[in-house]
């Protein structure tokens, strides 16, 4: 084997610095960022995103794991985070947006303090999951995909959490709860209310 040739293959390419503007798609966000006075909040998001990105390689296949990690940290995917990710992976910004809007898991708005996910799997639906959803909507006065104005609750549906035998299921703060019918909806809300009152008293 030609040693010179094979060596050439293994020469390590220098890592491209993140902000040199040489990336194929990078120029737009640089223009945008320059034109924008960054708020403190935005700067913090940017910094937190960068810290997560440092743990990943710059390949496109990492996009979804990166988005999952960033959302895990920030609770949602702010605009600045998506721009940062696009730049890091050197892909058009719209590609990040395409992925974020395609998958159910990702959200563009901050979540509420408590997450309510009503399971709408077949078993849950047939056992009245839609009635449970109605009850949540009625009590929280929001539609699915929305957050209450006080940011206490966000309501959404989930395709199936695989607890079909406990139907109808609602996942409350990541814990699946079985047999959630309208009266249990009121019970769960009451327990949150009591807990909040107790915390209020303790802090007083």
């Amino acid at each position: 084997m030609d040693t010179l040739g094979s060596r050439a293959v293994f020469v390590k390419l220098p890592q491209r610095p993140a902000d040199n503007g040489l990336h194929r798609y990078a120029h737009y966000h640089i223009i945008q960022l320059a034109a924008m006075v960054m708020t403190e909040e935005q700067a913090k998001v940017k910094q937190q995103t960068k810290r997560i990105l440092n743990r990943f390689g710059r390949k496109r296949g990492n996009l979804i794991p990166v988005l999952q990690k960033v959302q895990g940290k920030l609770g949602y995917l702010p605009r600045e985070a998506m721009l940062e990710i696009a730049e890091f992976l050197d892909i058009p910004e719209i590609d990040v947006y395409s992925v974020v809007t395609f998958y159910n898991q990702f959200r563009l708005n901050p979540p509420g303090r408590h997450s309510i996910r009503v399971c709408l799997g077949t078993a849950c639906h047939m056992k009245g999951g839609y009635i449970t959803l109605d009850a949540w909507k009625r009590r929280l006065e929001i539609d699915r995909g929305q957050t209450t104005p006080d940011r206490e609750f966000d309501l959404d549906t989930v395709a199936c959490v695989g607890c079909c035998v406990m139907a109808p299921v609602t996942v409350v703060d990541n814990k699946p709860q079985g047999k959630v019918e309208p009266t249990k909806v009121d019970g769960i809300l009451l327990s949150f209310k009591l807990e909040k009152e107790r915390q209020g008293e303790e802090s007083r």
Partner: protein
């Protein structure tokens, strides 16, 4: 270059080996309705589902954009089951299209009109419910107007912006019925980094992207 001879609608034609039936037909002056097909694209979208043809020896109609030519192949672009599928697909597209040709700048040059004529169907469908999306029109660009309601999601504009021009401002976002051609965070086109070259308007088969009148 190796060539293959085949029969399309009773006509003997030759095509480059490995060519898709759609291009073989179009090159020989035989029209097959199509919207999403792009000759130079590396991947075949096969998304619009309009180019159904019947191939002798195959039970079901196939899409001409994905079917590779074979020596001695017999293709019928006007077979009843192929036309049935193409017509249904077209009617479905029209069911979510605001058929308002009189006020549309693309009137006369619109490929939807051409396809309707070819398939012998009306632009306004009776069979299906009207399902309009009522999305806002974007006229922020100094050069063109983008009306997503008239878009058939063929993806030609995305392809030209990205692969040909290396800009990559447009892309698909959301999914299902909500799928739409848009910019990052649904921003106005003028703020998205668009260079106003207007190439996307040139390739748009419908009135979704049209030049502003001078």
């Amino acid at each position: 270059m190796k060539t293959v001879s085949l029969t399309i609608d009773g006509e003997k034609v030759t095509a480059r080996q490995g060519e898709k039936v759609l291009w073989a037909a179009l090159d020989n002056g035989i029209y097959i309705p199509n919207l999403c097909a792009l000759r130079d694209a590396s991947e075949i979208p096969a998304a619009c589902r309009l180019c159904f043809v019947e191939v002798e020896g195959k039970e079901q109609p196939v899409t001409a954009c994905t079917e590779t030519v074979e020596p001695g192949m017999v293709v019928n672009t006007r077979g009843p089951s192929a036309l049935r599928l193409a017509r249904t697909a077209f009617e479905l597209l029209m069911s979510s299209h605001p058929v308002d040709c009189a006020h549309c700048p693309a009137n006369g040059s619109c490929e939807l009109q051409k396809i309707a004529h070819h398939l012998g169907t009306k632009l306004k469908t009776r069979r299906f419910r009207k399902l309009l999306r009522e999305l806002p029109v974007d006229s922020s660009s100094p050069v063109f107007i983008y009306d997503p309601n008239k878009c058939v999601l063929c993806g030609r504009c995305i392809w030209i912006c990205r692969e040909r021009l290396g800009i990559g401002v447009l892309g698909f976002a959301h999914r299902g019925f909500e799928r739409v051609v848009t910019t990052f965070a649904d921003e106005p086109i003028a703020e998205s980094g668009c260079r106003d070259c207007g190439e996307c308007v040139v390739v748009c088969p419908t009135g979704a992207l049209t030049f502003k009148e001078q």
